[in-house]
Subunit: 299 residues, 4 copies
Amino acid sequence: MESVIQDQIHTFRESRKNRGRLLINCPDQPGIVATVSKFLFDNGANIIESSQYSTNPEGGNFFMRIEFECPDILSKKEVLRTQFQTVAEKFSMDWKLTFVYDLKRTAIFVSKELHCLRELLWEWQNGDLLTEIALVVSNHEDSKAIVEALGIPFYYIPASKENRAQVEAKQLELLKEFDIDLIILARYMQILTPSFVEAHPFKIINIHHSFLPAFIGARPYDRAYQRGVKIIGATSHYVTNDLDEGPIIEQDVLRVDHREQIEDLKKSGRSIERSVLARAVKWHLEDRVIVHENKTIVF
Amino acid sequence: MESVIQDQIHTFRESRKNRGRLLINCPDQPGIVATVSKFLFDNGANIIESSQYSTNPEGGNFFMRIEFECPDILSKKEVLRTQFQTVAEKFSMDWKLTFVYDLKRTAIFVSKELHCLRELLWEWQNGDLLTEIALVVSNHEDSKAIVEALGIPFYYIPASKENRAQVEAKQLELLKEFDIDLIILARYMQILTPSFVEAHPFKIINIHHSFLPAFIGARPYDRAYQRGVKIIGATSHYVTNDLDEGPIIEQDVLRVDHREQIEDLKKSGRSIERSVLARAVKWHLEDRVIVHENKTIVF
Amino acid sequence: MESVIQDQIHTFRESRKNRGRLLINCPDQPGIVATVSKFLFDNGANIIESSQYSTNPEGGNFFMRIEFECPDILSKKEVLRTQFQTVAEKFSMDWKLTFVYDLKRTAIFVSKELHCLRELLWEWQNGDLLTEIALVVSNHEDSKAIVEALGIPFYYIPASKENRAQVEAKQLELLKEFDIDLIILARYMQILTPSFVEAHPFKIINIHHSFLPAFIGARPYDRAYQRGVKIIGATSHYVTNDLDEGPIIEQDVLRVDHREQIEDLKKSGRSIERSVLARAVKWHLEDRVIVHENKTIVF
Amino acid sequence: MESVIQDQIHTFRESRKNRGRLLINCPDQPGIVATVSKFLFDNGANIIESSQYSTNPEGGNFFMRIEFECPDILSKKEVLRTQFQTVAEKFSMDWKLTFVYDLKRTAIFVSKELHCLRELLWEWQNGDLLTEIALVVSNHEDSKAIVEALGIPFYYIPASKENRAQVEAKQLELLKEFDIDLIILARYMQILTPSFVEAHPFKIINIHHSFLPAFIGARPYDRAYQRGVKIIGATSHYVTNDLDEGPIIEQDVLRVDHREQIEDLKKSGRSIERSVLARAVKWHLEDRVIVHENKTIVF
């Protein structure tokens, strides 16, 4: 289980080795910001970036993301977590404390359409996706060469309706072996079983090639063409067991006109699919996304 | 039945009084452009703007719009139509010959939300909507003052589910009396009966406050909020008897984020609703829209 | 000096009468957020919305905007200001404490092009611009009727190169008489003298009809046409004594093509000019804009 | 001088081997369309796509692009050209007749920033850039591996201010040897000499990393940051001997905010640079661009 970390990522994580992120989701009430910021100050932390949002100041939900610098943070992980637990209990917080140095480990699932995979690999090579891409899984061999050229393990697992159970068993084994934090469906085109999805709550990001909730399901460009829309779109969302109904992380659109046939829509759409997925993955890796009531807050 | 034509429109139509437009829809075959352009040349016409589109050069449909100048065109209307009929028959054309001087007569239907009406009136006052606004019909009195201030007849016809038949009878009478070519539903919020719609094929333009086909039907902003979309939209389309399923003329979108509540979406959405409807109406008035298989070609 | 406040604005300010806003600009250092949030908590305030930004966590500048609810805030204005002064001094803050109930008083300067004025008045009637429009000043009479119809005082002051001193003297007198907080140049088309501008630092918002810094100065659409740009723009900025070089608050753009002549660009551009100016004014009125080194932070 | 043509391109050109394109630029007068379309009809050609534009119907310029199918066109090239010359002379036309089967031969010049090169290669591999990429020239070796992996000749020519004459002599030799039709400066970052540029009129396409005419010249992102713009852009244009002043083919923009430092602007900007350049190159290859008075008509 070799480690594939690009030079630029390595340099970046070293330069951020004292950087932590705190994500909070709790009932709103006075004093949260004062208490949390005092906690950080008392621990010698300096706030770099802070965002917050309340659904409704009276009786609503409160969400917060703080990125901070704290000397020797890597040696104080457990201390900080233990101490913050007290604060968290007082305000009934769902919370998460992460460390920029600890790269999330990613698995990319792909099929025959490679534009989204290519975009992810490219951004990653440029140091713009701070993750360890641990492996790529595909039901086709088209991407094998470009993946292995980067030193990333590639697993070819042919998939069909008949062998879905075996395929997923093999995939789950790999995800466990490689200790994966995030699964990216980069135009994987296979529907995952409910048990697979339930095992990875808000850990699977998909790109759907339409402006959801328009054209849920198969062949969205064909249907966009039939409907005669003047704008096409792409949507990146967390996968839940309601097909294409999971929390939306990012969307984008592109103007088209009557001259574009289905094949043209597919070509044009590739450019927004790849950028929308890349942005969604990036925000997830930077702990910018909080899910609440099947919607996302993106800080 | 007085006539309300703004100064700027009057000046414009005078400056275009030799201007005609030819719209063609026929099976594709070689020779169409050569024949049509020869017809125009032989009649002393100079082509100002020409657009064409073929769904498929072999056995598909051919669409064309030509705007041209022809000396004394207003005295030759019937001659041109008669002559062109021969050309049209040879190529099995659906066709239309219109004259810029003959302003289309418009009825605007509105309810309590006035932003779309205001935009249309404003564009019209600026000389950017070349039409005669013959009357405004509303089931509320909110717009009476601003309509009558412009010298446009205003008809208040209270509407409910119970009196729909009477309301439409009164409306149809007015449309006939005022010799209306185009009905604009500027957030009218009432569903028209099948017989009313069938009496005006591709003569009714609606603005729907979503990015169709997402959020067909009632309360689209509420549903957009519930779904957590990152982009909202507006769609202008011809009304058919399939609710919100008529041919789309124009759409536009706007980025939103998690902080925007339903009321914020409604406010933001108003700016795209009004511009999308205004563009769709303008294109219709300029004879730029051809309907084909529930889609539009916009030249 | 009568007061013109629309019903909707009145209702809104009543519903927000305990709402305050704190804007801070100071050298960055640990403890700012902790101290400010403790100050608010100790005064019984609940944070509704908070944004912050550091140019550089080590030795850079720190900017913050907090909107909060505080019981009986209107009776505690001076107490809060006095108390916060102590906090501010500790961190060498530039700061401002404002109260939503205290509407800013606005003067709109306009010339013959009325689309921006119309947009502002419309947004204001809808309750979307929370300000008291105290007067409109123009060097032409075109807008007199629509302004006075809303009960807003209109002052016609003919302007020419020769009488600039007298014109500005009269304008300054009016601004003083009406106790104006913000001057909006809604396509005013006259250049203000250095002394006039200096008397109103970051209190004058202009709309320039280009994508600055492209096409600084006169006739930007003509020059955009000559240059053959594929996208036109509009820019709203604070006025300084460097022509069109003041801090940019908002910009937007619109795609155009080779068919559009100068007049078409002007028409198309109106839609972005009006929305860009309206957004910039709205953000200023909501105390969302902080100027730093000739740039704006917009929270 | 081996030939590198991808499979997909080969398939496409075979399927279009009877396809021609006619580009016309002449003084406007009645009868042009009729004459040209009759010429095509008489030669058995079927018009697939046709676009035209007049700067001004009375005494202006007329531009036209027609794409057509004509049986056995490859054996009739010279006949068609000779025959059309007669038509062209009658109307004083500048004209060009091209054949889709005859791929244009391209040279890409690149420096150390590879994102634009990568995009071009990718589009080309997908069959979306119908050209023969004959060689890549660079003053750095960074791109050698990815270029040669595709079987494309790579020439490393170190460049400095001192050796410009020798560098260009070598480049010109290669352009001649490889019989190049189009030079793409994919972030080449070197200024070409006047004689080099003059030798290739409207045959050199550059990508400039700003929204021209804003930030002409060096370091546009630094200057965009200093100016505090809210939107950044990229511009693709033909190279002339006025730096960054050549005819603009395509532009696009991206919204940014105060949090983005110069490095962030550079990263964000890469996505629009690459797509803008790819679109401009594609349109040039499809003979969609006509230059007129330092502007482009893009059909």
